[in-house]
Structures are given as structure tokens and as C-alpha cells.
Symmetry: C2
Subunit: 349 residues, 2 copies
């Protein structure tokens, strides 16, 4: 932990976050859900998707991009699928609701496939497939937003660096992958800015489309694995935005529609293990798979082979016990939010 | 086209391929399906998954790894899902059958999710999601086999370089992404061997886990995007092999079971556009999306921004008209196969 960081108890931080959203006009239950997902990201060390974003969320609530009291509606439904209109709800509010519904469908017919139209920022995507894993299912979640990444071969933003998260249930731990389709997530640029560091060539282009080592917004992210990362991103737009009749990439590129950064469309899925095989045996097989991966010889300079989600699980253990470290900048932002909404700060902040 | 390559008419090559499989004990209809999928890969320029593999398939039929006359059985089924036991069928035979079933389910309940247990090599995965696209649906297909790729941070094979293919229907063209989770597909090494070429550093490790430029089997492939490629590969084992109760990675790593390279488990899906949005509008949106991508400014040294599947579509047009070029090594292998099975060679081979 850096010396200028403060450690804050996660329960207090969650209560604070919920109170802020509540005062900003969000009903208490929904504010609790939002706080749960944000502080969970911090607990797992994914600080770029945690309480650091509260000021940005509040701004989006102020300007009406995010809707504190949405009319969330099921537009289409079958025994296996559901299309939900989020009405610009806070992402965690609608996505938790949608994931529950999809899990229920998977319980009945083996798979549940959900589409969410016009949600807003969903936080750390891993949260949702892990809801399925907690129910003994595999889970999948992805999302598309307006362009921020150059497709392979282009020197301008043309796709979003859409993340995908996939989870599978184990006994010792649930496996969960949560990856952006860019070489690095946008938050890594923010971190470099905060630290006054340069970034390696190959992470991003400058706004004019030239390779750069300077971490700036709005740099253009570069795709992981070249055509693979940008290919996935493009297909995720087809599976989410086009599937809900709300394209985000093309209208933004052609200038037809001004795109708001917080708006996104999402697809989620749950696959019930018990519909296909013995659920206990599945969990044991996940445990065995993890063990076998960890026993592989490590590459030179690597201490230990890690499975997806493992570094985050370790951070979680530490932060549950020792608190969540918040950098000075974040702490200052939260203090001014507290003062605006007259909400008590967590101890030590 | 290299000077030492011969151009062969695709119809003759398909007839030849079907005849070979038929003589090797595969019923004529199934041999036709196998030939269709293999020559389709060649037509699209994916030579690593085309007729180059015939000798290897024949060897697998000889040794009983691949079953020419399988008892393909539906083991579990719901309105939205199906679990099929392939009985080591030729991959294309069982996967085409499974994809049809999954498309039918998607037609009824919006999504179809299929699992195939113990299939064998499926050829170019793009073929299957494109079957869904032809029906106005998005399609997904992935697969897991025994380890051939090093997980990020390891210096030994621990995962398979599981490909994923995703397709979406358009009017001008269907979009289709087909990517291995390794930096390059294993077939690219075979091709380099057939062409007598070296490979770039970063594609693979040698069997001892050291970087290499020599294309050999069994080299260890390296994951695309580091932890992203190997993370996806690990999750695909959870979504396919563990879901059908037939783990391939861990038993192979722990030495519990000797793993046969041609054996694999697969998951496939179809999502019916019409269950969620207007199908015509969806196709128009795919067209617009492609157009917008192609209008992006190209990076230095790049002639043209290409969308997923576009280079293959162009090769397809050329090869339908001008024939499929076969390198000398492949031609020689096919000649000895022709002589073994007493099957007439395509003209010019």
C-alpha cells in the first residue's frame, strides 16, 4: 500500500456508497445493489471499477444519462430468453435483476439467455456470471458501448473494447475470467496518468491515430491479439446492441447520433450444469483443473501459475480483513461527494 | 501462388475427398459432409483445416480414434438445450447434425445451446455458426481438446488452443469470426512444415518449453494476448468438456488417462434474431456496421480495414473460380492416399 493511501472498512464504504446513491435519488434497495457491486470491485482490487467512479456516476445522474428511477420492462420473453429494456437504469440494478431471471430460466430449461437494452455502466462484469456460479451454473456476460478501440488495421476508434466475463462453479473456488478485448483496459491509462508514467508502445494510439507512449484520454485503445481482440469486440456489438435494435458503433462513427459514454447494451447467459452432467462431479473437476494448472512448471521469471480470478481472490481476502486502500485523489473526491449529499464518511477517510 | 503449387478444381477435390472417406469406411452421406467442410476451409484459404489433414484423418480412422460408423445419441434434451454423445464421430458429421438441432430450438424458444461429447476434429469452426447465420441467427461454436498450449505464466502445455467462432447475418455478407486462442492455430505449424519454412519467435515453445523458430509437432503453442487467450481456453474447457463430464485437460496433465489428440468436446449455440428484434433491420445494421468499419482510416502500411471473415470471403471467390492451390507436400500426400484407396485424383494433381 502506498503511504498516501487510506484503508477503509468495506462495510462502512458500502454503507457510504449506498447512502450517496440514495440521496442522489436512487431508491434504497437499488442504491444497495449499486454499492454492493462497486465495493465488491474494490475488494477484488479492480479499483478502476469501484468507488473511484462515484463522482462520474453522480454526474451522470445529474445530467440524466443514468436514470435513478427507471421503468425497467421485459419486452420479450420465452422459457429460455428475455429481452429487458433498462430505461437507462444503473447497470448493476438492471443486470442483477436480469441475471436472476436468466438463472431461473436455466434452472427450468438448461440455458437462459438475456439481453439488456440501454443499460448504463455495469461495473465489474465478473459479478454477474459469478451469480450464476453461486447457483451451480456457468455464467457469461458481455457488453458493448460507443467506440474507444481501433479495429485491427485501422488508426481510429471503431469498436468498443467490450469485456467478456465467464464463470464456472468449483468447490475450492469459482473460476472467473473477466477480460477487456483491448491489450489493457482503459483504467490502466488512468493509473499511468496518476502515477506520471509513460505507457509501453502497443497499448494505445494518440487521438490522431499515431502510436504513443503518453497516457492520455481520449487515447485510442489497441486490440488484444490484433484481429482477435477487435473481432470479438465487433461480434459482441452484433450479439448485444444489434440484437436489441440499438446499434452503438455505426451511428457513432457515421455521426448520425451523438453517443453518450455511459450507455451500453449487454448480453448475459447462464448454463445449468445439472442439465447436462452431475453437478458435484463438475465442481470436483473444476477443483482438479485448477490444481493441475497450478502444478505446471512456471515460465522464467514467474513465481506461480495463476488461474483466472485468482489474483483478485487473494486481494479480496486481504481487503476484507485489512480494509480497502483508497488513493488520496479518490479520498478527496469522496469527501466532496459526502459534503454535497450530507452523508457521513467512513472512518478514517 | 507459389510456383510449386498446383491448382485443383474445388468440385473435383470435394469428390476426391468424399471418395477417400467413403473407401475408408465412412457412409457416403457422412463422407460428403466431411468433404464439404474440409474443402470449404480450403476455398476460404484456411488450408490448415482443409485437405492437408486427410492423411491424419485416415490414420485416426485406421487406429480407431475416429469412428466411421458411430452411434450418435441424444443423451439429454430440453426445449432449449441438447447434449449429444458423438461416439467419436467425424467432427463435421456430428456438429452439422447438432447445429441443425440447435437452430431448430432457437427458432422455437429464441436460443439453442448444444453440447457434443467426444466428437473428433471438427475442421474449420466457422462453418457451424455460419449455418445459424444462414437461418437469420447469430451462431457460436467452440471446442476443447487435450493440452497443446502453455497457459500464461507456464512453460508447458496446460490448455488447448480452443478456437471460438461467432457469426451474425447480414445482407451483403455474414460476419464471421473464427479465432484460435493461441497466437496462431496449430495448423499454421503444419503448413510451415509442408512449406519447409521457419516460424516467428512468439508463436510456440519447443517441447522443453523454450522459445523456438522451428515448426515441429509437438511444439507448445503460446496464447494470444497472454492471460486472455489462455483464460478463454480454460473457460472453454469448463463450458465444454466439464459440462459433458469428459474432462480432457486435467486427466491428461495428471497422466490419469492417455489422451488422444483427435478427441474433443464442443459447445455450440444459436440465438434467433427474430426473437429479440426485427430481422431485416438487424441485417441492415450488420451491413451498416461493416461499411462503417471499412471507412475507418487505415493504419500505416495497411491497404484496407477488413472485417472478420472478409479475407476468407475474397479467397473463396478466387478459389471457386481459379481452383484451390495445393503445396507440393500436400499434393504428394494426397497422391499416396489416392493410390492406397484406389480413388481417382483430381485433374492436375
Amino acid at each position: 500500500m502506498a503511504e498516501n493511501e487510506k484503508r477503509v472498512d468495506w462495510r462502512e464504504l458500502r454503507e457510504f456508497t449506498a447512502a450517496v446513491f440514495n440521496r442522489a435519488g436512487v431508491p434504497r434497495d437499488d442504491a444497495d445493489t449499486e454499492a454492493e457491486v462497486l465495493v465488491w470491485a474494490n475488494l477484488r482490487g479492480v479499483d478502476s471499477h469501484g468507488v473511484l467512479r462515484i463522482p462520474w456516476y453522480v454526474e451522470n445522474l445529474d445530467t440524466g444519462v443514468m436514470n435513478p428511477t427507471p421503468q425497467i420492462r421485459v419486452r420479450k420473453e420465452t422459457p429460455a430468453t428475455v429481452l429487458i429494456d433498462a430505461d437507462r437504469a444503473l447497470g448493476p440494478v438492471v443486470t442483477v435483476m436480469a441475471m436472476r431471471r436468466v438463472v431461473e430460466k436455466a434452472r427450468n430449461v438448461g440455458v437462459g439467455w438475456g439481453l439488456i437494452r440501454e443499460t448504463t455502466h455495469q461495473g465489474a462484469m465478473a459479478y454477474y456470471p459469478l451469480m450464476a456460479a453461486e447457483e451451480g451454473m456457468a455464467g457469461i456476460a458481455s457488453v458493448c458501448s460507443p467506440p474507444n478501440m481501433a479495429p485491427f488495421g485501422a488508426r481510429a476508434a471503431g469498436v468498443h473494447n467490450s469485456p467478456i466475463a465467464i464463470a464456472a462453479p468449483g468447490n475450492d473456488r469459482n473460476l472467473v475470467l473477466d477480460m477487456a478485448t483491448s491489450v489493457v483496459a482503459g483504467g490502466k491509462l488512468d493509473l499511468a496518468i496518476d502515477k506520471g508514467q509513460r505507457i509501453p508502445l502497443g497499448w494505445a494510439l494518440d487521438p490522431e491515430g499515431n502510436p504513443t507512449t503518453e497516457p492520455r484520454r481520449p487515447n485510442i485503445l489497441l486490440p488484444a491479439g490484433g484481429p482477435k481482440g477487435s473481432g470479438l469486440a465487433l461480434m459482441f456489438e452484433c450479439l448485444s446492441s444489434l440484437m436489441v435494435g440499438n446499434p452503438l458503433l455505426e451511428p457513432s462513427l457515421s455521426g448520425v447520433k451523438e453517443m453518450q459514454r455511459g450507455i451500453q447494451n449487454s448480453f448475459i447467459a447462464a448454463v445449468d450444469v445439472a442439465a447436462f452432467t452431475d453437478a458435484d462431479e463438475y465442481r470436483r473437476n473444476v477443483d482438479r483443473l485448477i490444481k493441475a494448472q497450478k502444478e505446471l512448471p512456471a515460465a522464467e521469471g514467474v513465481d506461480e501459475v495463476m488461474v483466472p480470478g485468482e489474483p483478485e481472490d487473494r486481494t479480496y481476502g486481504d481487503r476484507i480483513e485489512n480494509g480497502i486502500p483508497l488513493p488520496q485523489g479518490t479520498a478527496a473526491n469522496l469527501r466532496s461527494i459526502a459534503s454535497r449529499f450530507d452523508v457521513p464518511l467512513p472512518s478514517g477517510l
